[in-house]
Amino acid sequence: MLPFLRRLLRRRTGTVGFLRERLERFHDLVEKNNSVLELIAEAGEMLGGEYVFDIQYLRSLANRTRTSCQGVVDDLNLITNGRYPRLHDIVSRLSAEIDAIVEGRIVATQAEYVLPLDHLDETMVDTVGSKMARLGGIRRHLDVQVPRGFAVSTYACQVFLSENGIIDEVETAFASAGPHDAEALEERSRRLQKRVLSAKLPRPITKAIERAIKHLVRTTGCRTLAVRSSALGEDGELSFAGQFYTKLGVAPREVLEAYREVIASMYSAPVMAYRQSRGIHPARGLMAVGCLCMVPARSGGVMYTLDPVRPGEGSLKVTVVRGLGKPVVDGSTEADRFTLARSDPHTVIERRLAHQPEMLALSPSGTVEVVSVAEQSASTSAVSDLELEHLAAVGLSIERYMKCAVDIEWAIADDSSLNILQARPLRISKEPRLGQKPAGVVDRYPTIMKDKGEVACSGVACGPVVIVDDSEPLDVPNGSVLVAHASTPHLSTAVPHASAVITDVGTTTSHLATIAREYRVPTIVDAGNAREVLAGVDVVTVDADSNVVYRGQIDELLHRHLMRSSTFEDTNEFRMLRRILRRVAPLNLRDPHSRDFTAEGCSTYHDVIRFAHEKAVQELAEGDWLEPSHNARCVYRLDLALPLDLVLVDLGGGLSADCTGRKRVDEASICSIPLKALIEGLTTEGVWETDPISMDPNAFMASATRAAPWINTPASRPQNNLAIISDQYVNLNLHLGFHFNIVDCFIGESRNDSYIYFRFAGGVTELRRRERRAVLLGKILESYDFVVETRGDMVTARIKKIPHEAMLTRLQMIGRLIGFTRQLDIVLSAEETVNVYLERFLKGRFGSFGPPSGGQDNGRTA
């Protein structure tokens, strides 16, 4: 992009030096900004399961994003005379964290010391470890009971270890390379554990934990807690199962001590020896700790949703003891064993009851004690068949949610409620190896769709078809196969509950696709007429690995997928990419008017480039070269009937000669061919709707980052707008309300040199409406032969090598489009409205926006 601007700046010597340098830097900044956006989109697609990438790719991604982001910050600081030095620190911190991830080291995300379980899900693995993140996700997204509680973050662990010098001690103790013998490990283990147990917890951490306990006790009445490890699983946390410490029946006043004990278990000799055997640093690691209310268990145990040894048999395994389930986990006692059918109603296929004369129970004061079991009960089943059936159903819903076979720790409380205490992927025996796809089996099921659309997230899933209307609030049953028209973010809240998603239109780079990958929900987008084809179909199996949808439930395919699911997302590279992207991709700074829109508020690379671009344009548009003292003879303010507040930088021939010496120019002075065409489009009668559009408060409030300034603010609110022009060139940066447009265009003597680049992003409403507007823009631009790329609410369009007249026609159209679509996200309340406004635009019926006839207003747009 912008190839012409650089050439132009080099050629024109008349431009004031300091301005020319700033414009060159601005040009660099925009290029690097775009390159980071492209890297984010590319890396997001890598998570979908369609690609093979390796550590080299991750290194390259880390380098490319860092280099571009640093360049953006350098450029901004040059443009603004070093006004944002803090951004350098932020990029350095993020890049150090990303480098550490690529090198296989564990890094804590800066976070609160304590987070309530209700706030957690899988997106927070780095902050609270896999175990607590997953438990939080199950509590939030499934209709399943999980004990109340909170997590002490990995960041708290890092601060605790660091402030006590333990991280340095680890580095010193293991400074020498090569394997360490068992005796040396034992000795270091003793020393490190002792250091942790006697270390002082920093006061802010202590206070945060005590506050959380107090709140928990007050709101739940729980007397004791389970204090559990939740480590960052750098080697697949499966491997560490049972090796870290869990303490049950901990009184509130003893939680801080138990916290230290759990952290100390990171340095136990078996853990360090195991890590060493896997080629991992024996003692580098961080751990979050979960504190959950103890469940007064009548019975408890473990469930595997697939037989790990004979996964093809379609059965669940349940092991049960009376009282707390800990003895099952420890393997320290005889337990009842059940084999259940995976298919509804989960009948008991096999039962082996054990004699259990004793059990572990919670005393009235909440402590854990061994009690005797009455003789007549000791040899009877600790759970009823009905409870087993319910347990199996819950287990399979968790399996669908986690997209793999699971190992679940559970408890049935005295009040007969089922509580899930822990859930983790179940390691399935690798043997026998998967064979050829069961073609014979699959052939028995009708194929409903094949090779339609694109796979946004691979995988295999099954469930009842639920066709959703984009304009309706979503309340769909867990495990449904969601079928929708568009991959709008409207669906995002339902994705974690879905077993699969299919859409008629959409892209693999949409927001929905990103969410689907985050939750590993098999997703096919752009399938054409999925809603029509799947209407009336009951249950389907979605094989997104092969892009086929079958009628009915194909257990063989589902089992195969469960058996192999550990080979994909559990690879180191995949986990690393997820961690890297969490520091790169999320955009938290959206609203330049918000008080949080500051350098300090940037927490990802995306935030940094967004902030830098905004501030660079602001600086160029509001720069003091408009003051007479600077005598910058190429900078002008354009007077227009529209409230554009546009500053022009003329690099030669963009304005008539009589403008020299003036500070303000009008439309008649414009000689720049492309700018003239754009302004003609912008000033077309009717396209510039100046009346503020009434806002649907629901849509508005859904946009959490959008703030009050919009209220009572005309859509025409002037902002920092800038056009760099010459006779044949325009580079327009137009910020209108919450929307950002970039047009870069050169109209050459030869059509081979001519091009238009157009980018649009932003909006005031919730993301789904902004995405609808992106779809509308895309359709309009495509109808004018642009090559269009839509990612979330951002639209990029390119066209080149077309005749002079065709260029002008398109620039005028873009001018009209910019005016027409400024506030369209507000009125695009339903999917159908997109086509209504498409038709209006194409037929030149601009006029005032109201609820469009024919479109679903859904009663939400005033």
Binding site: Y51, V52, D54, Q56, L434, G435, K437, E573
Partner: protein, 133 residues
């Protein structure tokens, strides 16, 4: 046809082998994976493979070494080379050695599958003409 085709996957990153094994097996190929090129060479000396998918840069014998070995010892074997960004030059060199095709990491599994299918057809045709040692 794929039931009669033997495919070797060689990459010192086990992730690549893991990601390619299942889709190839599902297509009906007989698949062996190696993360150590010396072991792969030894296996090639003992068994004929129709298609070899190999990384270019590895510790020990490289993908090019493997290719040169196969050109003399098993001329009907089709070799697909996986390259990274930095190894394009070497890949061009390999082109002269009669490699069937290249894929550059990161790559789509589907694209590699299509290439393997074509290479397998070529190998089977060639095998039909030339008796194996």
């Amino acid at each position: 046809m794929s039931n009669d085709v033997d495919v070797m996957v060689l990459d010192d990153e086990s992730m690549v082998c893991e990601r390619l094994r299942d889709p190839l097996v599902e297509k009906g190929y007989r698949v062996e994976t190696f993360t150590d090129s010396q072991s792969a060479l030894e296996r090639l000396a003992a068994k004929h493979f129709d298609v070899v998918v190999t990384d270019l840069k590895m510790k020990g014998p490289t993908g090019l070494d493997l290719l040169h070995h196969l050109r003399t010892e098993a001329p009907t074997t089709q070799v697909i080379i996986i390259t990274g960004y930095a190894t394009i030059e070497s890949a061009r060199e390999a082109e002269y050695g009669g490699v069937y095709g290249f894929v550059t990491k990161p790559f789509k599994i589907k694209e590699l599958m299509a290439m393997v299918a074509k290479a397998a057809r070529k190998a089977v045709r060639a095998r039909g003409r030339e008796p194996q040692p």
